[in-house]
Subunit: 197 residues, 2 copies
Amino acid sequence: MAKNIITIGREYGSGGYEIGQKIAEEMGYTFYDKELISDLADKIMVSPSFVEKNDENVKEQHLNIFQEIFPIFASNENEDVDYIFREQGKFIVQLAEKGNCVFVGRRADYYLKDNPDALHLFLYADMDFRIRRIADKYNLSDEKAVEKILDMDKRRRTSYEYTTGRKWGDFHNYDRMICTSTFGIDKCVEEIIGLLK
Amino acid sequence: MAKNIITIGREYGSGGYEIGQKIAEEMGYTFYDKELISDLADKIMVSPSFVEKNDENVKEQHLNIFQEIFPIFASNENEDVDYIFREQGKFIVQLAEKGNCVFVGRRADYYLKDNPDALHLFLYADMDFRIRRIADKYNLSDEKAVEKILDMDKRRRTSYEYTTGRKWGDFHNYDRMICTSTFGIDKCVEEIIGLLK
């Protein structure tokens, strides 16, 4: 019953990254996010910036940009993105074998769906809460923060649904879905750690 | 921040009713479910069985049956169901004014969406867990239990979506969505009570 692998899917601005970090810190777990990308990037011999850029841009979006800039690469680009996603998945499964870790994003809930030690979380929040966080963090107007939030959610949703064939934010894929704005970030950390004990 | 009104939406067989009862018992809160229907039924002068029957059968379904049996009443029936739903909503808002209560089902999350003291929960579970519960409770084969589960979920979804215009199980409408099969019913009760303190 004890779960020692946490996956966190999240709406942009809901505090999922911060919550993941704090859980990892308090539990002494390894926190996987950008490191995962870098490690993976080394493994598949492409630059981290390339992997990172592709991660939240799905095939069609990316293909469109690519076709505009480098028409000659269009057909290969498609396969590259699929290849990166597949490699990321294998990598996440390997990392999870060690246990005691937190994954933020990267569709980890999907790759680890059959791992009985994994607790799958999805974090979201009221729009006002998200606007406040993003506007403050990036020094944006509320209007620009909304634009950024909607754009990032769209990228995450599209990337998730393209890769997994599942619906982003469908409760059936998670053990807990938590609105972080109801009681705030710190209470969420406490609540999630309570589930692990 | 303290929440003393709990609304519980739930998948059939997930244990939402039992969890609601246990929370009410442990917190000394009033538990609203069938009583609510009876009280309401008195209020609007129709028999409890009529209200109950209509509650998880939406307009079209009901209208079809009614048109078959009593073609002359078909046009009124439509309005009757809408009327009952509206009255139920008003009644739930009134009951919630007293605080310290748990509502199971009846679209209470929707009617109380603007009440700052309400904590909105949606409970669900793995299919195997739900089959076990329903098969045992009603002495059904697994196959018949699945049929019953799918049918009841469909009724709840349709009734909810018809009345509220919202999607059943959409995370934006809830503070917490909890898979009851991950750690079991009693752990859920504990977890939810933890949120109230």
